[in-house]
Symmetry: C2
Subunit: 408 residues, 2 copies
């Protein structure tokens, strides 16, 4: 029998208890072992819950109990989640988590602590919710060099952008609707400002390239500046606007960034709608593979957490091979200013004289085709250029730049 | 050092040698072990190939060499691939394969042989080519009960159907074009008749439900009867026509089938185009997850084979937990005649009098809406009904039934 403790009995924590209880027989059959929830740590009591009798308020009860060998940390936030995880690993307990804040900030250290103490630190649920992504990258693409990863990593923002595209609705209106439906939190900052996606993309980058960037230091843009007009212009040009976490290696350095991107209809990410997530991995041998599914939610996320628990139980007689991450130094990271891609530019232009606008733009940007004129705006897609060049050229153009979007 | 042998130096076999050679350093870093190709078995010589000196013609050389611990069977066909695999497993060597014909026909027996001999039989590449699917189902959805799987499992037929949809082309024309481009074999029977997809869906069913059905006994329809007119009617109604392998458990029995299905635009499989494959797994805890990527090809398939090799090397000190399959008896399988789903019916009808056709159909099928009239055909989508009911009702209708498609 494996005794586990759940830290935090919120949405995901209670989901883990539910999965383990509902699919008890199936899990026991697969692992050949009984998984027993011995404690649930929470500040609250849960009178009437079937798990009421397992609730403890003192973390030390769990830490000091040698029978508990696996701890599922579902608390959210950095502290005390990190501190409790570290203490458990040091005590020789394995830790599984859905906490992207902890993994993205302390993952390198916690993996090292786990390896030192011959235990495990697993975090399948920290990226893509229920979507299998961490383990497939590590185990299924093991003979591949990852080239880049682009992902729709946040369900809330993808729901908002899908609504804006399908209904022509304004950002604020859709956000309010999303709050009502429970797809956005009362304080949605971490989602709509891209902070949540930034945490996830640095985890994917570390899995791919071995170095963990500070999520607060990477280029991160959210979706608050996107207008329904922008979305409609992009759509006319054959693109969906998606919030994309992107990582690749350029000139031996790691690029991690989060920003709205124009995704062409030929890219399978363009069809990922509503609260779903999709992660497209490009690797040297396999080419492109995509993983799609529910990026959040109680049972999907718990499904991923339980996969980690089962994995640990299956490997109870051997040390699992864990990834070893270094913390990325500033020098490890590719300078965002140098990042080159094609771009959509939207300039304000006098409605009556599109020919003049085209000339003013062509004089600066060179020969550009594919102009779209809409509501006093001149829009076009440029060749590849860096961030720096994009700013410089826009500054040289006599027309007023309204918006610039990167293409994926 | 792990010594491996490759059986069959065709497309996939040479791909495996290429992946192991090109990404040698990366694989060694991950496994902490050198992987050495000691032999390549083929009837041919390969003068000028960098692997020329490894080629042997006698299988016994490999079988009798105790240094060879992993054998990659890439021969194709049932014999001698099955016989060689069995002999290797009995000799305590692990076997990895991309051979869906062998896995779908002899998988239960070979897994049992592997378990008995404390070795491994892995087949990630047998379904979905380079797409991670076998390992994610086993390891990432381990706490889930699989509800059903629907997959676009054959790239050749998906290429043909995509072309038919996008260009309104006829089946024969696109097939010839696919042959020229190397997307279809000179003898494309196994692909276009659904035989290849049938092999893959019984493997996915066995992974999900523990019983391996005889692929030649499941309901299997190919795409040869699909006309560009059918595809265009479906498109107008908001559906893509896809060749779908489908498995689920109904009333405690396993259904496996392959047939063209109408896939609504809301289903992510509808966007899987060209030679790509996509596999949508519905499970009780996670909901729906989809895996997308190249379902065939030299390096993608080799990437999956190498993932299996790496997995075995990583587990060299412990027995891997292999799935245990039983062969499905006739009684284990759900009767296809009883399978219920919504259906598109296409009846021949006098062009001038659609109202009469609607009446004749409604008299038999009850109140049906969503009629489409095209080229002297009356088309509509029914409620859920079984195969048997579909045949009976069509027979009662005075109009001539041209075609029936199942909805997914």
């Amino acid at each position: 029998m494996t005794n586990i403790a759940i830290l935090g009995f919120g949405v995901v924590g209670s989901g883990v208890a539910e999965v383990i209880t509902k699919n008890k027989a199936l899990i026991e059959e697969k692992t050949g072992e009984k998984i027993n929830i011995k404690y649930i740590l929470d500040l609250r009591d849960f009178p009437g819950s079937p798990f009421e009798h397992l609730v403890v308020h003192d973390f030390q009860t769990i830490l000091r109990d040698p029978e508990v060998t696996v701890v599922a940390e579902m608390m959210g936030g950095s502290h005390p989640a990190y501190d409790f995880s570290k203490a458990c690993l040091e005590a020789g307990k394995s830790v599984v988590t859905s906490n992207k804040e902890v993994v993205s900030n302390f993952g390198a250290e916690l993996l090292e602590t786990a390896a030192k103490n011959k235990t495990a630190y697993l975090f399948e649920a920290s990226v893509g919710g229920g979507i299998p992504i961490i383990r497939p990258i590590l185990n299924d693409l093991s003979s591949n060099r990852i080239i880049n990863i682009s992902g729709i990593l946040n369900g809330t923002t993808n729901y908002i952008l899908t609504k804006m595209e399908n209904e022509g609705a304004a950002f604020e209106d859709v956000l309010n609707d999303a709050k009502k439906k429970g797809y956005a939190e009362a304080n949605p900052t971490a989602d709509i400002e891209g902070i949540d996606a930034a945490r996830k993309i640095v985890i994917l980058a570390a899995l791919s390239f071995g170095k963990l960037a500070d999520p607060s230091k990477i280029h991160t843009e959210g979706i608050t500046e996107i207008t329904s007009d922008d979305v409609s212009i992009a759509k006319k040009m054959g693109y969906a606007v998606k919030l994309i976490g992107y990582t690749s290696v350029i000139d031996g350095k790691i690029l991690c960034m989060v920003s709205p991107r124009l995704v062409s209809q030929a890219n399978p990410l363009s069809g990922i709608n509503d609260v779903f997530n999709g992660i497209l991995v490009s690797a040297d041998m396999v080419g492109e593979v995509m993983f799609y599914g529910p990026g959040a939610g109680k049972l999907p996320t718990a499904s991923a957490v339980c996969a980690d628990i089962v994995d640990i139980v299956m490997h109870r007689k051997t040390q699992m091979k864990l990834p070893a991450w270094e913390k990325a130094s500033e020098d490890d990271l590719f300078e965002f200013e140098k990042y080159r891609c094609r771009r959509l530019f939207i300039f304000r232009s006098p409605e009556a004289d599109s020919a003049a606008a085209v000339k003013q733009i062509s004089d600066v940007f060179g020969s550009i085709s594919g102009f779209v004129f809409e509501n006093g705006k001149t829009c076009f897609i440029s060749d590849e250029m860096s961030e720096k060049e994009a700013v410089e050229l826009s500054g040289k153009c006599p027309l007023e730049l309204i918006k610039m979007y990167r293409l994926l």
